[in-house]
Symmetry: C2
């Protein structure tokens, strides 16, 4: 399961890093405790919508931009976790003994 | 201030409507109380990341898709709330008395 708060935390930290801001500076600008921001960046706490707006404002980034980055990162994780469709029959580990055409058909449909 | 939970609520409701699901059906599928889903759709409660994942799963929609829709809707609201840059001089409410070309220039630059 892809957790929104973890990917959001990564995106917020990346935004802060891009601006060369420390947690202390962001904490002062956003008026949010340093420890709380740290927990959000590590995906350990959910950010309320008001807090998210404050962080975006202090980071001088639009909420839509952050959400767009989160959506893209979530899509990558979703693609990685989706089951791969089987498009070819697997290669058998042991040689199949020679059989008649009829019994081969039965083996094929049971596989 | 654009609140994430309100736009998210709208997006989740839109997804439910597209599938013709009732709140009761979604509640049963996602194993979340009907009242709680209703509050989330109305933007009155923050959805935890686990709950958001459950709702997306029950709605058979990817989280990345929902976040992409939310991002787009937030961008529209952000554009509407941004201050409009002044690109033309405002139309005066009262007729401007006839002046010389030189004094007209002064009025235009002061506007």
């Amino acid at each position: 399961m892809v957790l929104f708060r973890r990917v959001l935390g990564d995106a917020l930290r990346a935004q802060r890093m891009r601006r060369g801001m420390t947690l202390r500076e962001l904490s002062a600008d956003a008026r949010v405790s340093l420890g709380y921001i740290s927990e959000i960046e590590r995906g350990q706490k959910e950010a309320s919508s008001e807090l998210l707006a404050s962080l975006c404002s202090a980071l001088d980034v639009r909420l839509s931009q952050v959400l767009s980055e989160v959506s893209a990162a979530v899509a990558v994780e979703e693609a990685a976790t989706l089951p791969t469709p089987i498009t070819a029959t697997p290669i058998p580990a042991t040689p199949i003994p020679v059989r008649s055409a009829a019994s081969d058909d039965v083996v094929a449909s049971a596989a």
